[in-house]
Assembly symmetry: D2
Homo-oligomer: 344 residues x 4
């Protein structure tokens, strides 16, 4: 940590800073400049962060120089993590490219099965499907709840692929985990700390979507909440951030993939469906995700998008299966990856 004293700081102000560092068992190195004095702190930065130097008189600025997360940081864990999902141990990690696909929302057994079969035909090895839907409007379809979880579990048995579904409340984690192979924490809940801690106690891998206005650092801090409770099977998911541009539902921050990979050992996937919010962008953004180095994508598919109860305009359908399979088969090898399959 570096403390910059203001240009009107007195010697007494400086001494108070140095004393507080010493009291905390740290060392303070003072560099006096012509107009400013800088104090370099050596010791436990987590402890220093609690000492509230910003509030001391004469302090102009406090700059942290170590990352505030540890367990998910790549700094002391340089090897990238592979997360394995379900009984068939579908991998998400540096050697693979994993396609997760399925319906945005579980609506009926038939629709869910049909969507899962589309997904499988396109090369997916994990099926997505929402039973609890966090919706901006209280008048929109909110999901089937536990009935939806049952449908999803049935579909898993029928297609033989693990499933992922969203959990929206800490008190539901146990129930949801009993039906699914992977838990999803959605963008609106990225800083729902009670939920993060509860999925951290679950014995299932977790996909953590980036908050729509969260910095990459805050996203990794949210992952740290999960890791702290003992669950390190975390997959990060970039799903677009909120900006002034309204031609797309959100702005896919494609750079977040290599940036997160440089900071954390966790796998990073991309959601090209919710970031763009438009069917015509799903395949281009999928190609971009593979090319930038993502470990997978998660895609909405629906047998009849025009009848979907949720996010129909962005769902891929029958006519897109061939092209999607083509993309996820041909592009990953250029990056030294292979499409994750049940046989891995």
């Amino acid at each position: 940590m570096v403390i910059v004293m203001s240009d009107v700081a007195t010697d007494a102000h400086l001494s108070a800073v140095v004393q507080r560092v010493a009291d905390a068992g740290g060392e303070a190195f003072v560099s006096r400049g012509v107009s400013r004095t800088i104090v370099g702190l050596v010791g436990d930065d987590e402890l220093f962060a609690t000492l509230n130097f910003e509030a001391l008189p004469g302090v102009a600025q406090v700059m942290r120089i170590t990352t505030p997360y540890k367990l998910v940081s790549r700094q002391h864990h340089p090897q990238m993590t592979t997360v394995y999902v379900g009984k068939s141990k579908i991998p998400i990690g540096p050697e693979f490219f994993t396609l997760i696909a399925g319906p945005c929302a579980v609506e009926t057994p038939e629709q869910t099965l049909a969507a899962a079969q589309l997904a499988q035909a396109a090369g997916a090895t994990i099926i997505r499907g929402g039973a609890y839907k966090p919706r901006t409007s209280p008048y929109a379809f909110q999901g089937l709840g536990e009935a939806g979880l049952k449908i999803l579990a049935d579909v898993r048995d029928k297609v033989g692929l693990p499933v992922i579904t969203e959990v929206v409340d800490a008190s539901d984690v146990e129930l949801v985990a009993s039906y699914t192979d992977m838990l999803q924490v959605g963008t609106r809940n990225m800083q729902n700390f009670a939920l993060l801690q509860e999925v951290g106690r679950a014995k299932k891998p977790v996909m953590l979507k980036r908050g729509m206005s969260s910095s990459i650092e805050e996203w990794l801090m949210a992952a740290e909440y999960i890791a702290q409770r003992g669950n390190l099977d975390i997959v990060l998911c970039e799903r677009g951030i909120r900006t002034f541009e309204d031609a797309t539902r959100n702005t896919l921050d494609i750079s977040a993939v290599p940036v997160a990979h440089s900071l954390s050992h966790l796998p990073v996937i991309v959601d090209p469906s919710h970031s763009g919010g438009r069917r015509d962008l799903v395949l281009p953004l999928t190609r971009a995700a593979i090319a930038v180095g993502a470990d997978g994508v998660i895609i909405d598919m629906h047998p009849q998008p025009e009848k979907a109860l949720c996010d129909g305009p962005q769902a891929l359908t029958h006519q897109d299966v061939d092209e999607l399979r083509d993309v996820v088969t041909k592009f990953p090898p250029l990056l030294g990856r292979k499409l994750a399959s049940v046989a891995n």
Copy 2:
């Protein structure tokens, strides 16, 4: 609702749209233009919103023209609401300006009492204090939990003013409501729908902070979730939005106050402490909040900000009491309001 057909839409596309409207019991008025055809829908817009017109072939754009919230809307409820807090029925509404103040976090009985007394001296009639603190880092102080609620309840008895505190998880609502006079939903939980529904069932007023990247419309939709469960004692709180500017912690969207007032009958207050994140901005932003027409402000105060466990750099302290009292006394009358007092 208005549907704009794409310029390559066929007559069959148009008929399909009209048919879907008719099937839903609505009427469709078709205006054929030179390059575009427009369909105006008359009927139940909430129903239309579920019909997924965006996914029909030939549809270029769907534009909603009624507000998606009802209970909190001013459209059918032009008279502004006054919310009353606690046994002493402190009002928050169009005739008053209400000062809520106190410590960001409850740390000790002494600190909480001292902060509450500062607040009271400055003119506050509701005391704030956090027992559950949602913190970006898992390594930061997370609040005292129920022990903090007890301290807060004691302070309430000592100073004789109602208290407000944040609740962060749906399963805590009953417990928190048993200790406090008003519930706070924080910015990170504005779209935690399980929590919104639970506070909607509570018998205490709710202060709903705007999500740091939520539009005003989404904020009102979140309020609608609470109202739908039967609780209409809702106070909206603007606390700054996330933008590119980093000179301030957040960017206070001062225009949100008159905009929300024009759309909703609910009171709107401002948090000048968390929006700016700097002590030197608290008083200027408080003055701006009063002048723009806010129904109150909520301010961090601390007897020893340099020792605060949370957000010390923005807390007001002893030396600010006189000026704060001056501001909340002198400015509201220019807007035809009076400072809310225990005697109201």
Copy 3:
């Protein structure tokens, strides 16, 4: 300047940094921490900024700790500046509140005169009016050019108040300056450096609007470009920034007023018309601007807003004159200011 070495930096990397500092005539203080080493630089920060330390191997981060602007900084010029406009020397500065008002665009002599008279009746002492209009669409009204300048100059003679108008191209500065008392640089041109340098050579005061996505620091740097060429009669104008919120045309960053005042000695005014883009917000935002400490506001007025060629929906008109005069008369005294008048 502070340089943070990466945790894999070698001694050779560190030596190269220290050497480069020494070569530039500076001193480097090295603080070795457990995981990181920090180098504090003492000397000429402007020179250091050109040395490209970020590109040296082993360097993790470079942090500037002095402000990058000098002439407009308050650091060495603590007394606030008052700028005087026109022959009648209308002041804009800390003791006054100055109302600038008039039509968005000069359309006809009659409309311009009528708008100026409305402005004067409301308490304005400087008349605004655009002859060159930067418009997003090439198909929108672009202003009358020199013919508009002549109309404006005539109106000045008739109402006896100085005028301000926008200049959009460096080659027009001399012409525009010959007709007007104050030059305006618009939001889209805040980083048009050729234009900034040219108005810096002009002998007229300049109003510099903040770029719609410029940080406060960049805004002050743009002012520094003007000051560097010898013109220190600069008034900063906050006019709203671009954010995700679309209920208003831009988001007025009301905090920018006290923040800019704390960093610079220049006066700061607010444009409540273009920030909100809605007539119903102009008066509330004007009150907020006064209360937060602005030195003035600039407001669109039009005798017949429904016929305005530019920005009609936000212009104030006859029925607003009384309330505007009321606001600019009653609020400034609470801040220890008086409304600027011709007699000052």
Copy 4:
């Protein structure tokens, strides 16, 4: 255009709207709903846009339903454009992928030539290099001006490839065009309309960078300004937008490529150097750009980045040549494109 009347609009308000449409030679179709009345306008939307309906009493909202640009729109020009640069007619368009590379700034003849040779070795067929540098700080290196243009012209002769350079002021266009094969309008000048019109009169192709906070629609409107003056040889360049995320210098809006392609027939390239601002992101973002369907990229290269006077931390250098050539050779064929070469 669609006009939505407010729910308190009277019949007189509605008649006034209909009359104004009729006066302008258009037709108005009125759809009366339960709570709202909608007016559909048929006729010349550009004319309607000037009629200021928003300012009429009783009007709640005005919605445009045609694109505000024509010449650059794909609507009446479905075939994609290929722009040819220089004597060797290097193509930028749908069948090719074009690498533009070279130094951020022209510093010396040796550095410029060395950078151009690196670029050529990596597969570049157009050389970039800035002689006029718009810099945020007036104390930063501003470019060599005409001396830089001469160096660039010399390098063009030596390497045998066309060159592109930025022009920052309308009065410089003729001079700059006399030395270069393609003109660049930078992000800060995207709405410098005087400059846009002047490059619109030049006889050289223009690369138009997106403004850092401009919507895609505004970007296309800026292109329309150029096209209107007779120059349709325009290449759009996405270079990152300003958001709250500060891990990267800007946020590359990768979706802007397919979105702009869907709206306009103009080629779209990507600047992976300035969007990320970090050397380690240049290659991943280049791969993403190719994969999403961009027609080219423009990349900073420097023989000695640690000595660069501008943007050294992001420049590629000797050790990156092989990997860059590899990427631009192997990826485009998967999209049905080939690397543009002198022999095309």
